[in-house]
Amino acid sequence: MNAYAGRKVVNLVMMVLCGLAALGALLPLGSVLWLVVSHGVAGLNFTFFTALPKPVGEAGGGVGNAVVGTLQIVALACVIGLPLGVGAGVFLAEKGDSALGNAVRFTAEVLSGVPSIVVGIVAYGLVVVPMKRFSAIAGAVALAILMVPTLARGTEELVRLVPRSIREAALGLGVPEWKTSLRVVLRTALGGVATAALLAIARATGETAPLLFTALNNQYWNVRPDQPTASLTVQIFNYAISPYDDWHQKAWSAALVLLLLVGGLNLTARALTRNRLKGAR
C-alpha cells in the first residue's frame, strides 16, 4: 500500500513535469509573437511598404524594395527549384524501389540537413564568381538548392499516398505509363504536392544566411535579376545589429511583415491539406 502511494507520487511528479515542459515550450512562442506584433505594429503604415530605406536620422522610409526583392528572389528560386524537387520526388515514388532510388532518397535526406550558410558558399562559387557580381540569381540558386531535397521527400510521400487501384485502373484501360503517371497519379496528388511546395516556399522566404553573400543587399529599387537585390530578411538583420534605435524599430516592423508573409504561406498550406483530407473522406 505504501509502495503504491510512492509510485503514485512519482507518477504525479512526472506528469506535472511533462505538462510544465509543454508550457515551457510554448512560452517562447508566445513571447516572440507578442513582441514582434506589439513592437512592429507601431512602425507599420502605408509608406513602410512603398518607400525606400532612409539613412539614419531621416524620418520615414520603408522596406518597399526589400519586399519586392524577396518576392523576386523567391519567385526565381521557385522556377529553378520546384520542377527539380517535384520531379525528383516523382522519380522516388515511381521508380524509387531500387538501389539507385535508395541512394537518391538517402542523399536527399542528408542534403536536407546541410546548413543554409554552406549552401550560400556553394551558390557564391557557382554564380557570383563567374558573374563577378552579387545578384538575385545567385540568391535564387542558393534557395533552390535548399528547396530541392525537402521538396523531393515531401512529394514522394504524397505521390505514394495515391491508391494503387487508381493507377491500375488507368493502366488497365490501356493508358500508357507516362500518361498514367502525369495525368492520373500526379493529378490526384496535386493538392498535396501544392502543400509541400507552399511549405518549401515559406521556408525559402524566411532564409537569411544563404542570401548574405549571394543576393547581398540594395538600397534602391531593382528589378534586374543580375544585380544585387535587397531582401526582407537581410534588411532585418542589418537593422537589428545596427546601433540605432530608429533602425531597431524598423527591424521589428519588417519582422512583422516577414512573419505575416511566412505565416500566410504556412496557413494556406494547412488549409489546403485540410480541404484535401475532407475531400478524401
Binding site: A21, E94, T107, G113, G120, I121, V122, G206, E207
Partner: protein, 326 residues
C-alpha cells in the same frame, strides 16, 4: 477492333509512340533522380575547390588545432569556432532534449484530446518562425533577460561550486555562449518534438495495455513500454536536432557575441562556424581569407553530414522495427 487487327500499320505506329513516350518519361525521371546525386557532388566539389588555396599555406591539421584567427595577418585557426559551435549546440541539446521529450509525452499520452491539436499547432508555428526573427528576439529580449536576472542568479548559486562553477563566472554580458545555447534550444525543440512524437505514436497499443493491465501507473507505462520501444527513434530525433543546431546561423550570429576566443565560462562571448562565415565572407577580399572561410564551411558540412546520416539511419531502423512489430 484493335484486338482483331494487331498488325495494322496504324496500330504499330501507335504502339511505337507509346514506347517512345514511356522511354522519354522514364529518361526524364531518371535524370531528375540523378540530379539530386549531382547536387550532392556539386556541393562537396565546390567546397573542396573553394578551400583549396588554404592547403598550400597550411596543413588541415594545423588549421583545425590553431586557436588564432587574425585574417589581417593571414593567421587562420578553426578551433575557437569549432569550440563555440560544439558548446552552444551541446547546451541546446541539454536544454531541449528533456523539454522536447516531456512535450512529446504530454502530446501523446497526457493532454486531453481537445487540447492536442492546439499544442501541436503551437509547436508547428514555433518551427515556422524564420531564424532572423528569433535572432531579433534574442538580441532585444532574451539577452537582456539573461544579463539582468538569470546570469547573476546562476553566478551566485552555481559560481562558488568548484568544478562546474567555472562555467558560471565572469561578467554577465548577456551576449555569449549561454544566450546562443538557449535560443538554439528553442529553435530545435520543434524538430525533436515532431520526430519523437512520430516515433512514440508507432508504439503498439497492446504493449501499452499490457503494462497498464499489470498495474503500472501512467508514468511507469511510459518508462517501461513506450521509451524503451522508441529508443533508437528518439536518439535519431536528438541527432536531427543537433544537426540543425550545428548549422543554425542567423540567431546565433546575433547573440553569441562574435569573439573568436575560447573561454570556459558560458557567460563569455564566443563565435561559431556559421556565424563567422556569415559575418566575414561578403567582406573577405583576400584569397586566403575566403579560402579559410570556405574551409570552415567544409568542416561544418562534414560535421552536419555525419550527424544527419547517422540520424536518418537510426530513425529508419526504428520505423522498420516498429513496422515489423505492428
Amino acid at each position: 477492333m484493335a484486338l482483331e487487327a494487331p498488325a495494322s500499320p496504324q496500330s504499330t505506329r501507335h504502339h511505337a509512340g507509346v514506347n517512345r513516350g514511356d522511354r522519354a518519361w522514364n529518361g526524364l525521371l531518371l535524370g531528375l533522380g540523378l540530379a539530386v546525386l549531382a547536387l550532392a557532388a556539386v556541393i562537396i566539389g565546390m567546397l573542396l575547390h573553394a578551400s583549396q588555396p588554404l592547403w598550400k599555406a597550411m596543413s588541415p591539421w594545423q588549421f583545425l588545432k590553431s586557436t588564432d584567427w587574425d585574417p589581417a595577418n593571414d593567421s587562420f585557426g578553426a578551433l575557437p569556432f569549432i569550440y563555440g559551435t560544439l558548446v552552444t549546440s551541446g547546451l541546446a541539446l541539454l536544454l531541449a532534449v528533456p523539454v522536447g521529450l516531456g512535450l512529446s509525452i504530454f502530446l501523446t499520452e497526457l493532454a486531453p484530446k481537445q487540447l492536442r491539436p492546439f499544442v501541436a499547432f503551437g509547436v508547428e508555428l514555433l518551427a515556422g518562425i524564420p531564424s532572423v526573427v528569433y535572432g531579433l528576439w534574442g538580441l532585444f529580449t532574451l539577452a537582456p533577460l539573461l544579463r539582468e536576472h538569470v546570469q547573476p542568479f546562476l553566478a551566485k548559486v552555481l559560481g562558488p561550486i568548484p568544478g562546474i562553477g567555472a562555467l558560471f563566472r565572469g561578467a554577465p554580458l548577456g551576449l555569449g555562449f549561454l544566450s546562443a545555447g538557449v535560443i538554439l534550444a528553442i529553435m530545435i525543440l520543434p524538430t525533436i518534438c515532431a520526430v519523437t512524437t512520430e516515433v512514440v505514436k508507432t508504439v503498439p497499443l497492446p504493449l501499452r495495455e499490457a503494462s497498464l493491465a499489470l498495474g503500472a501507473t501512467r508514468w511507469e507505462m511510459v518508462r517501461l513500454s513506450v521509451l524503451p520501444y522508441s529508443k533508437a527513434g528518439i536518439l535519431g530525433a536528438v541527432l536531427l536536432g543537433l544537426g540543425r543546431a550545428l548549422g543554425e546561423t542567423m540567431a546565433v550570429t546575433m547573440v553569441i557575441g562574435n569573439n573568436p576566443e575560447i573561454h570556459a565560462s558560458l557567460f563569455a562571448a564566443g563565435y561559431s562556424l556559421p556565424s563567422v562565415i556569415a559575418n566575414e565572407f561578403a567582406e573577405a577580399t583576400d584569397a586566403s581569407h575566403t579560402a579559410a572561410l570556405a574551409s570552415l564551411a567544409l568542416v561544418l558540412f562534414a560535421i552536419t553530414f555525419l550527424m544527419n546520416a547517422g540520424a536518418r539511419v537510426l530513425v529508419r531502423r526504428s520505423k522498420h522495427t516498429a513496422g515489423a512489430h505492428g
